[in-house]
Every structure is written in C-alpha cells, then in structure tokens.
C-alpha cells in the first residue's frame, strides 16, 4: 500500500527478473515498469538497478514451485518467454497473486491477470508447435543449419524436440528476432546469444534436395481444391520467409534479416561448424536464459519450460 513505486532496470534475463521480484519484496517496492539494460527509455519513476545474483534467483524460482505449485512455476517461466507486452509487469502481478493465494491461482481462468498470461503462453506454445513443422534446415558443410523469425522466444521449447529428432546430427538453429542460437552436437546442446549469424553457401547436393522438395510441394496440391485462404490460416505468411518451398535459389542461402533491434551483446558467430562450437557437455547444459544450468531433469534447480 505504502510501497514505493519504482522502475526496475535489469539485464533482461529470467534470472535477472527473478532478482527483481526478490528485491521488490525485500525492499517493499511496487514495480510499475521493467527496463532491460540496453533499453534507452527513461522512466518517470525512480529507477532501481537490479543486479543478477544466481543464489537469489534460485531462491525465488524454488519458491514459485512451493507457493504457486509446479504448474504456477511453469507458467511463470514460460510467461517470460512470450512476446506479451509488459510481460514482466503481468508476471509480477501473477506471482504476487500466487504468493497470496497459493497453487489454486492457476485455476482462476477468468481472472484478468491469469487470463493474460495463459493467453500469452498458449500463443507461445502454439508458435513453437507450428515451428516444429515449419523450421527448415539446410545441409551446410557438416551441419544442418536453420533460421527462424519467431515472435516469442521459442528456442527453449523447440530444443527438446529437435535434439530428440536428430540425436546424431550437428545442427544450429538461429532465432533472428531474439538473436539467440541453439547449437547441438550428439549428446550436447546450448542456447547462446549470437549477434549475427551466417550459414554458408549450399552445395550442389543441397540445392538438388531443395529443388526436389519444391517440386513435391507444388505437385501435392490439388488444383480443384485451390484454397489459399485456408493455407494462410494454418500457415501465416510471416513463416514463409524462412521456408524452402517459398524461396528461389540463386546459389545463395536464406535471405538476410531485415530488422535493427539490438539485443544482448556477444561476439558474432560467423561460422559455427565445423570448428568446435562452444557447447558444454551433456552433464552441464547451459541455457543463457536460466540462472541455473538446465541439464539434469531431476535437478530441482533446473528451469523447466
């Protein structure tokens, strides 16, 4: 009630956000805005810079499971990956409500806050599900390489799917929107920030399979049932930019990115493979989004999306 209204500035990671929650509770702040480090906006509210501390993040993350139940914890973690506007603020309200109310908060389907987050998470999950199908890989050198332009941060959700699908392959999947890359080699994976990404030039063989696929794609359609609207409903145009069947090959790979957003900084990854990628081994999977290594599934401290 008498809490001071503040703007939290943090590093943009989930761990950082959890630290904001921690600090707000400890200091009786009422956050009204959340800005990331690289955000150039200025707040009208007093700014509090929140540093990211693993121990505190972990404490909050665990408390989510204890107080909101596993479903509530999962909703919060996934909620952070969504493209919901002011998602931190919605999540803050959700977490606060959950702390007061307990695990039943996830059943409050008609509550505006819970509803917002559920919708956003459903949207994230739907996008991830669509992309499981719409991702296209190219064989470039020794590795399979693909790029996507999702609205939500889907890589953590796509990761288990593609790692299970291609246990023997080296592959890289670049998220142009959020400038992150999923790297995989047999029994190892990592999701890392990557400012820039260049796949490489496709071989004759690669171009040949693209041709075969495009040809199949056009043949399989039945003229008498032509229905572009229906196609668009199931597969909106925004996905087409990275799909092989809608591209022409002039010997180049995928089209360049067309946006200028700045994200978390890191060194450019120009050639990911075949030089050994910075992939940690299976026992200590690294996910830069998590405060905590997310390798072992039995590990209570691992963030599960």
């Amino acid at each position: 009630m008498s809490d001071t209204q503040v703007c939290c500035r943090y590093d943009g990671s989930f761990a950082g956000f959890l630290c904001c929650v921690f600090d707000c509770y400890v200091n009786h702040w009422e956050p009204v805005e959340f800005f990331s480090d690289w955000d150039e906006r200025l707040s009208l509210y007093p700014e509090q810079t929140v540093s990211t501390r693993r121990a505190e993040a972990l404490r909050v993350y665990r408390s989510l499971a204890d107080r909101l139940g596993p479903a509530g914890q999962r909703l919060a973690a996934r909620g952070f990956l969504t493209c919901l506007e002011e998602r931190e603020l919605w999540l803050w309200r959700f977490i606060r409500k959950g702390y007061r109310q307990g695990p039943s908060v996830v059943r409050e389907l008609t509550d505006p806050t819970v509803d917002q987050i559920l919708r956003a998470v459903r949207n994230l999950e739907h996008e991830a599900h669509s992309l499981k199908g719409f991702v296209r890989f190219s064989q470039l050198g020794e590795a399979l390489v693909g790029e996507i332009e999702p609205k939500n941060q889907v890589l953590p959700l796509l990761r288990p799917h593609f790692c299970s699908r291609y246990p023997q392959e080296s592959f890289a999947l670049y998220d142009r929107t959020h400038r992150k890359i999923l790297l995989h080699q047999p029994a190892k994976w990592a999701i890392l920030p990557a400012e820039d990404f260049q796949g490489g030039t496709p071989s004759e063989q690669e171009l040949y399979f693209r041709r075969l696929w495009r040809s199949f794609y056009h043949t399989i359609s039945i003229q008498a049932r032509y229905n572009p609207k229906c196609r668009m409903t199931h597969m909106p145009k925004r996905y087409w930019t990275t799909m092989t069947e809608f591209q022409e090959d002039s010997g180049v790979s995928l089209p360049p990115t067309g946006h200028e957003k700045t994200g978390p900084q890191s060194g450019p990854i120009h050639k990911v493979f075949p030089s050994t990628p910075p992939v940690s081994d299976a026992s200590s999977h690294r996910d830069t989004d998590g405060p905590i290594p997310s390798g072992s599934h039995r590990n209570r401290s691992a963030i599960q999306y």
């Binding site: 059943r107 008609t110 199908g133 291609y166 246990p167 794609y217 229906c230 799909m243 092989t244």
Partner: protein, 429 residues
C-alpha cells in the same frame, strides 16, 4: 528416368488420398538413430489447397493391373508409369526428413502384378529404411487388399499406422466402380489389423520389447460425391467403422473428376463437394469427441446434413427442449452439446467454476464463442443481457453467423476447420 520426374509422377498419383497425419504415437529419438514421433502429429507445410503436408506422400509405383473407375491410376488411363527403387525412396525420405521438410513417409502403391508382389516391394523399402537407415520417424503404410495376411503383418511391424481404403460408401458402388475389389477383401485386412493391434498391445504390457504392430492405429478413407449415398449412410458407416474396427480416423475425400466414365458424374462443370465434405468432417468430430451418435444427427426424414449450418447447430435447433444449459451447474456432457462450446472450453468451464461462479464475461475469457452459445446457455439462471429472440429468429441469426463461410465462391472459402490435419486444437463445432 530422373528422380525428380519419378517424384513428380508418384506424388501426383498419391495426392488424392486425404490422410496425411503423423499423429497417434509418441516415440522419442534414440542415439544411433534418426527420428522421433509425437502423439499430436506435426504439420510441416500446407499446400495451396490448404491441406496439411506432414508426410512424404508417394506411391511405390503407379503401374496398376486394376481398373477402378474413380482412380487416376487405373489401367485404362493413359499416363506415364514409373516406380521407385527401395533405395531411391529411402534416400529421399531421409534427406527430406533431415531438413525437417517432413515428419515421415506415407507409402502407398498401385497394384503392380499382384497384391503380394506389391506388398513385398513396400516391405523391402520400409525394412531398408528402418533397419539400415535406422529411421525412427513416422511411417504410414497402405495395406493392399488381397495380399497374404502374413505380408500385411510384416508391413504392420515396420509401419506406425496402417490403412485400408474402404474407397466408396457402399458395396453396390464398389462393385459398380471397382469390379476388381470386393467389400470382403477390404474388410478382411481391416479386421486383421484391428486384431493385430489388440494382440500387440497386450504383449507389450507383458514384455516391454515385444514387437509393435501398427502402434499408431489404423485409418481409412472413402470418396464422397462420386456415388449417390446419403450423408446418413456415410455417417452410419463411419460410426460402424469406429465401433467395429477401432479406427483412429475415417477420412472423407470429395470426389475430383479424374475420368469421363459414364458411371461417374460428368467432369464438365462438376464442382467437388467440398462444403459437404467439410460438414461430414464436422459431424465426424461430433462422433469422436462430442459423444454424438450418427442416428441423433440424421434420420430417415433428414438423410443429409444441412450445408448451410454446422451439424451441431442443426441438432440444437431441433432439440430446443434440451436448452438452456446452465454453465454453473450442468455436467460436461451437457456443455459439449452447446454450439459455441468446444471440448477445450467445456473443460475450462469445469475448472473455472470451481474457483467461483461464471459470468458471460468470464465465458468469453474461457474461449466460448458467445455469438453462438448465448442463445443456448444461462449463467446462474440469467440469460445474456439484451437477448430476445424467437425460434425463427434464432435460425436466421445462426445462418448469418455462417454467412462468411458460405459467401461466394462457396466451397473455396472454407478455412474454419482443419479437415485433413489432426491438430491439437478442437474446433468449435
């Protein structure tokens, strides 16, 4: 012949089969192999006709000794003929799969020589794919009626899903248009597959490593609009197939004229009955997920579905005595009967009303389509504010809601309903 040409011919020959789903089985990838499957299935693309592309759908060969009138591959049709070698097919499948173009293979075949020889060639390709290429993705194989049951069994051990096409909705139509096929010859493998699946499930309970026979179940399809059966006949048959053969899916395929046989509708000016197909799929969803029975939807007095309105609305209009349903009290079964409430929103209603009583505003949040549902529900005894409507008025209003779907050119605009893809979401029917 170049591989590209073969692919074009054999995909073109396979495209009239409606099934392209990769659902029904969860299998994660294992080290040393390639591929996994997920129970919900996965659409990898959508073709210009709006149908889901999930599998590499091709024929092993389009050389056929039969002469089914409705089929583009019939013996008497003048077409280029070709066949894949097992190795070509394996390479294609694997390279497409690695690039994430597809979820697996849908292998069917015309009858080259005889059913046994045809099935053997399919088995050879699938064996190679599974054993030598260690492919763990989805395989849907078509069982060839008339093949030795032992061969069909071997096919089922390699594939995830098997299907036998019932082709036409009645035995008369079948003997008229596909004189080489007998109803019994189609039902026999269906029965065999059903029993094979049951036995395999029991064995798996006892031994974890027992061989799996068609673990993603079986499906079938029939052509609609080539012959004169009513929707009632079609739906009754569909229900019978679900009940008796435990099919996962029955697919309907609107007839596309591929022949000028006098036994079939004349191709000139023929419009494939896409809207009818769409209504049949909606009715099929009602059978599978909404606990409706075929005889509730159609009877002698009303043998065909109303193409203007979805079958659930039609049922509701004929059973106004059943309504209104009280969303804060009535059970799941009753909620499922309300137009505008789907399987998901019905479940959400059950969850949400435990936390407090529901209002119309709340229903909207739960994903209920109030435009439809408002006429059929009450919230704590109250109807939606400002709602006053007579019985005729009701029909008219529901028709206007459908109008955008039916706007000219009628059949081409349907997009409400994922008819050929098994998607996770349930449509509101």
């Amino acid at each position: 012949m170049e591989l590209l040409d073969k692919l074009n011919i054999l995909a073109d020959a396979a495209k009239y089969d409606a099934a392209c789903t990769s659902s029904g089985l969860d299998r994660s990838g294992r080290p040393g192999t390639i591929g996994s499957t997920t129970v919900a299935g996965c659409c990898h693309s959508f073709s210009a006709d709006g149908r889901c592309i999930s599998l590499l759908k091709v024929l092993m060969t389009n050389v056929c000794v039969y002469d089914c009138q409705y089929c583009i591959n019939r013996r008497s049709n003048d077409l280029p003929r070709t066949a894949f070698t097992p190795r070509e097919l394996c390479n294609l499948t694997l390279e497409f799969y690695r690039r994430n173009y597809i979820e697996g293979l849908f292998l069917s075949s015309a009858v080259a020589g005889n059913p046994d020889a045809t099935t053997e060639r399919m088995i050879e390709a699938l064996r190679l794919l599974r054993e030598e290429y260690h492919f763990g993705g989805y395989i849907h194989a078509k069982a060839i009626p008339g093949a030795d049951p032992l061969l069909t069994h071997r096919l089922g051990l390699l594939a995830d899903r098997l299907s036998v096409n019932i082709e036409l909705p009645s035995a008369q139509s079948l003997s008229l248009l596909a004189p080489d096929k007998k109803k019994e010859a189609i039902l026999a493998p269906m029965q065999q597959i059903r029993d094979g699946i049951t036995v395999s499930r029991q064995e798996l309970k006892l031994f974890r490593h027992a061989p799996r026979f068609a673990p993603a179940g079986q499906s079938t399809q029939m052509i609609v609009g080539a012959t004169g059966e009513s929707d009632r006949q079609i739906l009754t048959l569909t229900q019978g197939l679900y009940d008796r053969y435990q099919l996962k899916r029955v697919f309907f395929s609107a007839y596309i004229p591929v022949s000028s046989s006098p036994l079939l509708p004349a191709p000139q000016g023929f419009q494939p009955p896409l809207l009818r197909e769409h209504r049949l799929y909606q009715a099929d969803w009602l059978l599978r997920f909404y606990h409706f029975r075929a005889e509730e939807l159609l009877d002698e007095g009303q043998p065909d579905l109303d193409v203007r309105l979805d079958p659930k609305c039609c049922w509701a209009l004929r059973h106004l005595e059943f309504f209104p349903v009280e969303v804060n009290r009535d059970d799941y079964e009753a909620l499922l009967r309300v137009p505008g409430i789907g399987v998901k929103s019905a479940r959400r209603i059950l969850t949400a009303r435990r936390a407090g009583s529901l209002t119309f505003e709340g229903l909207k949040r739960l994903g209920v389509v109030l435009k439809r549902a408002q006429y059929f529900v009450t919230c704590s005894g109250r109807v939606m504010a400002g709602l006053r409507v007579s019985e005729d008025g009701l029909l008219r209003r529901l028709l206007t809601l459908e109008a955008p779907t039916l706007a000219p050119p009628p059949p081409e605009q349907l997009s409400l309903f994922p008819s050929t893809s098994e998607r996770k979401e349930f449509p509101h029917v």
